[in-house]
């Protein structure tokens, strides 16, 4: 048994920054706090603000790179698209699950990846899993392709290109251009 040298260990540790190391995260944290306490009062707004500073500060070394949302508009549209697809996906799925299973034509298909960022890949893989009839089952070790299991496929190539166009492209736009 050989153990590959995990590349992630080589990631440089960033020196600690005191002031808002992750601005996006901080906003996210602040909103989260208000969601959690389920009330908006002056006290909680302040406390949330404090935590929005404290937690990113404490956990910054766990975040290898700072995420920057390049195109909030695209991101918003992408989220709506995914939500819609989830609903559709489930309707289709329900039919397939309850219908005759013998007619299903499952398949493993390989989706070559253009995006390289782990975060973006994760988003893509998750999206694929949540949407119609597909579950991302594996990621190649060099992060060049995603193995997707499809519940029912008529034409594999079409499915692949559809996925790439519908989900990968916007993600690429959001994170990498």
């Amino acid at each position: 048994m050989s153990n590959p040298r995990p590349s992630h260990l080589a990631q440089p540790l960033r020196s600690k920054r005191l002031w808002l190391p992750h601005k996006a995260l901080s906003i996210y944290m602040w909103l989260l706090w208000l969601l959690l306490v389920n009330e908006i009062s002056a006290g909680h707004v302040l406390l949330g603000g404090f935590l929005a500073w404290l937690i990113p500060y404490l956990t910054q070394s766990f975040w290898p790179e700072e995420m920057v949302l390049r195109k909030p508009g695209v991101a918003g549209r992408f989220i709506l698209l995914v939500l819609w697809d989830i609903v559709v996906a489930n309707a289709i799925l329900a039919v397939r699950i309850l219908g005759p299973t013998r007619k299903l034509q499952p398949a493993f298909i390989e989706v070559p990846l253009d995006i390289k960022q782990d975060f973006a890949i994760t988003l893509l893989a998750s999206t694929i899993s949540l949407t119609p009839g597909t579950v991302s089952a594996d990621l190649s070790e060099d992060r060049s392709a995603l193995l997707v299991h499809v519940l029912h496929v008529d034409d594999a190539d079409t499915t692949v290109s559809a996925m790439k166009a519908r989900y990968e492209a916007p993600l690429k736009e959001i994170f990498e251009c």
Binding site: L32, L35, L36, V37, N38, E39, I86, V87, A89, N90, L93, A94, I97, L98, T101, L104, Q105, P106, A107, F108, I109, E110, T122, A125, S126, T127, I128, S129, L130, T131, G133, V135, S136, A137, D138, S140, E141, D142, S144, A145, L147, H149, L151, V153, A156
Partner: protein
């Protein structure tokens, strides 16, 4: 009353999806197929229930109750990853898929 109806519909739809997901889990012929039910249907089902709850508590307590969103969000983030990692495990131990499956899974460790 309207709110009651909305909540009722939401929870019923949600529960139905949860049930459907679990039916899929029992009914579908191989592991990879069964994976689809929980990954999507069940997650959505719980989402529906959570929306119902959100509306219900917002109405009954006269103030916006959004913290169910947190659970929902959490589920939507984690469910696909759960599915992914279980599938990865299944692929690793070379769990067979039904014969008519097109394409072949990667051999474990291949890229």
């Amino acid at each position: 009353m309207l709110i009651e109806i909305i909540v009722s519909v939401a929870v019923l739809i949600g529960a139905s999806f949860a049930l459907i997901g679990s039916i899929g889990l029992v009914r579908l012929p191989d592991f990879y197929l069964r994976l689809h039910g929980p990954a999507k249907a069940t997650t959505l089902g719980v989402g529906g229930v959570l929306i119902g709850s959100m509306i219900y508590f917002s109405a009954s307590e006269q103030s916006v109750s959004l913290h169910e969103l947190l659970v929902a969000m959490f589920l939507f983030i984690t469910a696909p990853v759960s599915a992914h990692i279980v599938a990865k495990a299944a692929l690793h131990i070379r769990l067979p898929c039904i014969e008519r499956t097109k394409g072949k899974p990667w051999q474990s460790g291949e890229s």
